[in-house]
Symmetry: C2
Subunit: 125 residues, 2 copies
């Protein structure tokens, strides 16, 4: 049975999550789809929910991370700003570095794990 | 406004989370309260929910992490096994090492953050 270590970084500004796993994935989806609605759909969230996350991210940094353009034949698209790309790049770099830092400890931790999980379970904690 | 980096490690065994932030906190609460029910209450979860998480953890490792004793005047308590203490100790050590690894990058990242968050928000991504 495959085991896996997932480092999930959250950067908090006060009580707000400036960026975390969900928001980083949303930024990537926006960069790839060119649309907040399409990015939200890909992640299984409503347009409204995706907008709330974008608005929150835009407000947590010195410049906005996502720029939405209204109108046009495509009905309005969205793209990452330079700041958005920079934040995403650095976030992923921190995540990779955090994972690298615990490779050896994870190797040792593996010995404590069972051969396979007990059974399918819905809990996500 | 205070910013903070929270590394949250998840160790997955197949699709199951062997241990993550919620389960680690539950282990600590069980160690402190000597009871799964009391630990669950402290974390705002039902007894049933706490039990599901304990059962899942117990099944993901070579030995169980929590031992529950039924009956007795206290109505049954619970405590961490040696394996439970070991898993918790190593999990916290990995978390600390992951955080240490990104201290410098976080320092630089700080310059990108706004002075304060946009406003109160319920989103937790």
């Amino acid at each position: 049975m495959k085991d896996r270590l997932e480092p999930r970084l959250r950067i908090l500004l006060g009580a707000a999550i400036a960026i975390g796993p969900g928001k980083a994935a949303l930024l990537e989806a926006i960069a790839e789809t060119g649309s907040i609605a399409a990015a939200g759909r890909r992640m299984g969230m409503s347009y409204r929910r995706a907008w709330v996350l974008v608005k929150s991210m835009n407000g947590c940094f010195r410049d906005r991370l996502v720029e939405a353009s209204k109108g046009g034949s495509a009905g309005g698209g969205a793209e990452l700003t330079e700041m958005g790309r920079e934040v995403l790049r650095r976030y992923r770099a921190m995540e990779a570095r955090a994972a690298d830092a615990v490779v050896q400890e994870m190797q040792a931790f593996r010995d404590l794990l069972a051969e396979q999980p007990p059974d399918e379970e819905p809990d996500r904690d």
